[in-house]
């Protein structure tokens, strides 16, 4: 299409012109301007949503790198494979089922089960709506589809280094096609949680708590990595490539501007633009504060500046502010991030003491700090009761359905775990027949 527009104008342009001409003929010159403004605003908001979606999609790379950096080298290929495959599976399932379940309306608790994603808005319909339809339907789908992948990415980190690849992907089918869309409907699809006044701007609950609840169920069914808790002692399995972990965190950080900034869904008015800008500033401030407090706490507690804790601290701040990044001012947002950064360190240690083996800290970052973020919303808006109801409903639904699914998959596939021998020599060779760094490890 590259040359045509340049020379002639496209079908699109022609259509618009036609509309403008029609408008011009039907009414007066002013209609012309109105239609053009609606058209331009639609273009801007659609573009804004698509760029935000691309940033959220980019978070898939962030999770991939973060998790690849925090597992041992013998399990890196599988974690890479899981991450790229879960993103793909989530996109396809959400196209086929999830989106329409989530946004197809329903009775408040039960969504109306329908498929696919519905037709695009016609130019005529947009004009007729007089400014109420402000962006492309497909752009909305694209933005939303990247969120479900985020939820599933959270799971992959927590069950890393021991779960079978195909068992994991089977679960991804169900979470992205059904479990997530149903609770998503409760809030963003206009279901009962929305009616109740539950506030979750960009998904501390709908996305992050959901992922963490599914992960927790998985971790419980799966058990810890062999040798992790031996003779009452916790064994450390240091991550194999910390630059990748840092890169992953920074990717997530930049992607989060799309996650939170895009969730306003509209940037074409002054108020919306201000809200989006506020979301950017608060997102950045919360992450920065979370990183700093986690680093300081690790220094005071362990006498070492633990980089992996600092990275988790940044993510903790991001997750916490996601519940409502437009209502608090920058100082309050920074404060929320700071508390999340402390919380995540304490939570990681505690969860490890509880012998819940979570190689990347996903339960703490997305679960504990997701809940914290939701419960901190009343500091600026919303009510405590509505927030608590949201947390309980989302957690319960996702945890229980996930537990059932994990158990079904366990039975159906003859176990969720690789064999102990495969675990010892690394799931990479067992599942993928590849090594991540074949020239640098023992086996050449």
């Amino acid at each position: 299409m590259k040359s045509q527009i340049w020379k002639l104008g496209t079908v699109g342009a022609v259509t618009t012109l036609a509309l403008l001409v029609m408008a011009g003929t039907a009414g007066a010159e002013e209609f012309d301007a109105h239609a053009s403004i609606i058209s331009l605003g639609y273009g801007l908001d659609t573009f804004y949503l698509l760029m935000s979606g691309a940033l959220v999609m980019w978070m898939a790379a962030g999770f991939t790198m973060l998790e690849a950096g925090l597992v041992r080298s013998k399990n890196v290929v599988v974690i890479l494979t899981k991450n790229v495959a879960l993103y793909s599976v989530a996109c396809i399932m959400y196209l086929l089922f999830g989106y329409q379940i989530m946004y197809g309306g329903g009775s408040g608790v039960l969504p109306g089960f329908s498929f696919l994603i519905g037709p695009e808005h016609t130019a005529a319909a947009v004009q007729a709506a007089g400014g109420d339809i402000t962006y492309s339907h497909l752009a909305d789908f694209f933005f939303q589809v990247c969120f479900v992948a985020t939820a599933m990415s959270i799971v992959s980190g927590a069950v890393a280094e021991r779960m079978k690849l195909w068992a994991f992907l089977a679960f991804a089918l169900v979470l992205s096609g059904f479990i997530y869309p149903i609770e998503g409907y409760w809030k963003w699809g206009g279901g009962f949680l929305d009616t109740l006044g539950f506030v979750d701007f960009a998904g501390s609950g709908v996305v992050h708590l959901c992922g963490a609840a599914a992960a927790l169920a998985g971790v419980l069914v799966l058990g810890p990595r062999t040798g992790k808790y031996k003779n009452g002692k916790i064994k450390a399995f240091p991550g194999s490539n910390l630059p990748l972990a840092a890169l992953g965190t920074l990717i997530l950080w930049v992607g989060w501007f799309g996650f939170n900034g895009g969730s306003q869904l509209k940037v074409s008015t002054i108020a919306d633009a201000n809200a989006v800008a506020m979301a950017f500033v608060n997102t950045n401030g919360a992450a920065a504060a979370g990183l700093v407090t986690a680093l300081l706490l690790s220094q005071f507690w362990f006498r070492k500046a633990d980089l992996t804790m600092a990275l988790n601290g940044a993510l903790a701040g991001l997750v916490a502010i996601t519940a409502e990044p437009t209502a608090p001012g920058p100082l309050l947002a920074t404060g929320i991030g700071a508390v999340a950064g402390l919380l995540v360190v304490v939570s990681i240690i505690t969860i490890d003491k509880l012998k819940l083996d979570d190689p990347v800290g996903a339960l703490s970052v997305h679960g504990v700090c997701g809940i914290f973020g939701l419960m901190a919303v009343p500091l600026s808006t919303g009510t405590f009761v509505a927030q608590l109801t949201g947390v309980v409903c989302i957690f319960t639904w996702v945890f229980i359905t996930s537990l059932i699914m994990w158990l079904i998959i366990k039975v159906a596939m003859g176990g969720l775990r690789v064999s102990e021998e495969e675990e010892y020599s690394g799931v990479d060779i067992a599942e993928c027949g590849l090594e991540a760094y074949p020239e640098f490890s023992g086996d050449k």
Binding site: I429, G433, G442, D443
Partner: protein
């Protein structure tokens, strides 16, 4: 004195080390090696092309001991490293004429 060189499976290193220290050994030297033997390597696929990994990762432990401890240490190593599967490894015993401690210059069994 003798030098014992033991080739073992990597995941047995910790057990062997613990067994040796329990037996009173205060030092040893460890390195990563690749072994070729009765235990065959494995075949892998990379982008559809098969490739053989002939060598298995192994750990080599080097241990200088007084003559009278040789048998005991061989028994200890065998006890800890044995999985009764092929590829468990070998223990070699070589004559060792002298040992010197770098720090102090002590010689012989005192240097161990």
């Amino acid at each position: 004195m003798k030098k014992i060189e033991a080739i073992i499976k990597p995941f047995k290193l910790e057990q062997v080390k613990d067994a040796l220290t329990d037996a009173g050994i205060t030092g040893m030297t460890v390195s990563e090696v690749k072994g070729y033997g009765r235990q065959k390597g494995h075949k892998e696929m990379y982008r559809g092309a098969e490739y053989n990994i002939d060598f298995n990762p192994k750990i080599k432990i080097e241990l200088a001991v007084p003559d009278e401890q040789v048998d005991q240490m061989v028994t200890v190593i065998r006890g800890a490293a044995n999985t009764e599967k092929i590829g468990d490894g070998k223990i070699f015993i070589l004559p060792l004429e002298e040992v010197v401690r770098v720090r102090t210059g002590e010689k012989g069994e005192n240097a161990l």
